[in-house]
Amino acid sequence: MTLLIEESAPSTQEKAHKARGTVRLREHLMGWLFVGPFALVFLALLIAPLAYALYLSLFRKKLIGGTSFVLFDNYVKAFTDPSFLSGAWFVVRFSLVAIPLQIVIALAMALVLDAVTSAFARFSRLMIFLPYAIPTVIGAVMWGFLYSRSFGPLSDVFGLFGATAPDFLGGNLIFYGLVNVVTWQWAGYYMIILYAALQGIDPTLYEAARMDGAGRRQIALRIKIPLIAPALLLILVFALIGTLQFFNEPQFLRFLAAGTIGPDFTPNMYAYQQAFALANFNYGSAISFALGGIVFAGVYAFLFFTRKRRSFL
């Protein structure tokens, strides 16, 4: 912490705070008093584990000969390990399909709910949000049952037309099965964030636009969407962080989709398997750290390229 204090001088721009030395010292103290407890937790549970993961990832434990320092060998191994690479490729493909889909649906729903004000619209808003209140693992269980050929309604529905039901728990369809679960789970949450942002727009802007001859669609495209761009960026970042570390849903659906979802289906599952099933904490940490690094770099680069005056960071 001392490092932090020395590195950045107090900003002198705030005129109200250009007070005498004693007042300023008091302000420093009070500031740290409020931020301090969180800072301790932050150091102990975020900085320390990150540093420790980095440390662990530089070693390798052998059955004979104990633990030895191997520098970046674990990373070299990870990036040439087909299990890690296929998992990483899966989450990248998955993000490219699932994230735009969720955001488009959430945006469409938010715009509809902002334009339609009826009792049914208010009811719908809550119902669409409901899946967010469901633990992701329970959501996966629910859909797992719905997909299931033994308990699910799909075979009934397709049976009516004399067709066999698609197996969303097998082969290539598991991809879309999971896209559906994730969309169902998160689209409502993103919708609420966008809806709240839309509600924050000053309605006199619409009045002015209408005077200028803008229709519903033009107001949506030229006023609403640009004004909620920061909220869109926020949910995009959330979705990226969440999707790249995909774990809960596939881990749970493994029980129902045996054979389709292996223990190395996503990088996080692979790290979990290495650490907890094979007690290989060094390699597990390396995978976790590599994944965390990729997510961080990816999101940071993304924010850098989309940087605007009013971005959320």
Binding site: M1, S8, P10, S11, A16, H28, M30, G31, W32, L33, F34, V35, P37, V41, F42, L45, L46, A48, L50, Y52, A53, M109, V112, L113, V116, T117, S118, F123, I128, P131, I134, P135, V137, V141, M142, D156, W184, I192, A196, A197, Q199, I228, A231, L244, Q245, F247, N248, F255, L256, N268, A271, Y272, A275, S285, S288, F289, G292, V295, F312, L313
Partner: protein, 292 residues
């Protein structure tokens, strides 16, 4: 948020095609709930005996199933629910207190190291939480904390997004003039915070509390890694355990599947109740994070 806006709106807007579209969406979002409500009324034969999977069986037996759920394996399910409640409350309240204090501190005091600490915090928003599970496990196991309730509660105290949300909210909703007035009237910093600032931040406090509690309740990766004693499991990990057992036994040999279905339904009720009763408060708090 909504109350401030409704005055500005004139007549309610009812666009019929859009309402029909909404109707379809609502059906999609509710289908899994409908399935689980219907099927938790069935016993094992009703579940596997064919029949309509989207409608009730001849025999509707919620009470029998509930009794089975809460007595199976010495009533372990009730324990899981209590554990989840404890983890959600302890983690949620703890994380909220830390976030409210830190957010207020960042927003209202110009202290040394503030800018740097705040950029570190913003960077932390991008650190995936699951990347921390394995090293935290190894650290906690060195401290003898794994397989205790602390292994689940302590990590859920960390909520950088909550701090960010509180910072943005406190910056806008708590004017400096009011704080200065309170100070001029002789209130100390702590009293100013508790009696003047805190009431103004209430929507954001409710939002952060709800989001942290839900995150703890929904947590799966952390407890599944940390805990080995099934009496400490939260309900998510417990249901995972049952699902593993039921799948290994290849469906039907036990009535475990019907317990899992009803168990999933029962486990989501507290969250749904929390969201619905608090919904007027949390939505106002959420809007700020997305606007600035």
């Amino acid at each position: 948020m909504t109350t401030g806006r409704s005055g500005a709106r004139r007549a309610p807007q009812r666009h019929l095609p859009l309402q029909v579209l909404l109707g379809f969406l609502v059906v999609y979002f509710l289908v899994p709930f409908w399935w689980i409500i219907v099927n938790s009324s069935k016993d094992a034969p009703g579940l596997f005996g064919g029949g309509n999977t989207l409608w009730f069986a001849d025999r509707v037996d919620y009470f029998g199933n509930l009794r089975q759920l809460f007595t199976y394996d010495g009533g372990i399910y009730g324990r899981w629910i209590l554990n989840s409640t404890l983890y959600a409350f302890a983690g949620g309240i703890g994380a909220t207190i830390l976030a409210v204090m830190a957010g207020y501190g960042f927003a209202k005091y110009r202290f040394a190291g503030r800018r740097l600490s705040f950029s570190v915090l913003l960077g932390a928003l991008m650190v995936p939480a699951t990347a921390l599970v394995i090293p935290t496990f190894v650290m906690f196991s060195g401290l003898g904390l794994t397989n205790t309730i602390w292994a689940v509660i302590l990590p859920s105290l960390l909520n950088p997004f909550g701090v960010y949300l509180m910072h943005v909210y406190a910056r806008d909703a708590v004017p400096d003039e009011i704080l200065d007035a309170a100070r001029a009237d002789g209130a100390g910093e702590v009293r100013t915070f508790l009696q003047v600032a805190l009431p103004l931040m209430r929507p954001a406090v409710v939002t952060v509390l709800l989001l942290s509690a839900v995150a703890s309740w929904n947590n799966y990766f952390l407890p599944v890694a940390m805990l080995s004693d099934n009496r400490l499991f939260p309900v998510t990990v417990g249901l995972g355990l049952w699902q593993g057992i039921a799948s290994a036994n290849n469906a039907g040999t036990t009535s475990l599947w019907s317990l899992i279905i009803l168990g999933a339904l029962v486990s989501v009720i507290p969250l749904i109740v929390a969201f619905f009763t608090l919904q007027r408060h949390w939505r106002g708090g959420l809007s700020v994070g997305g606007l600035r």
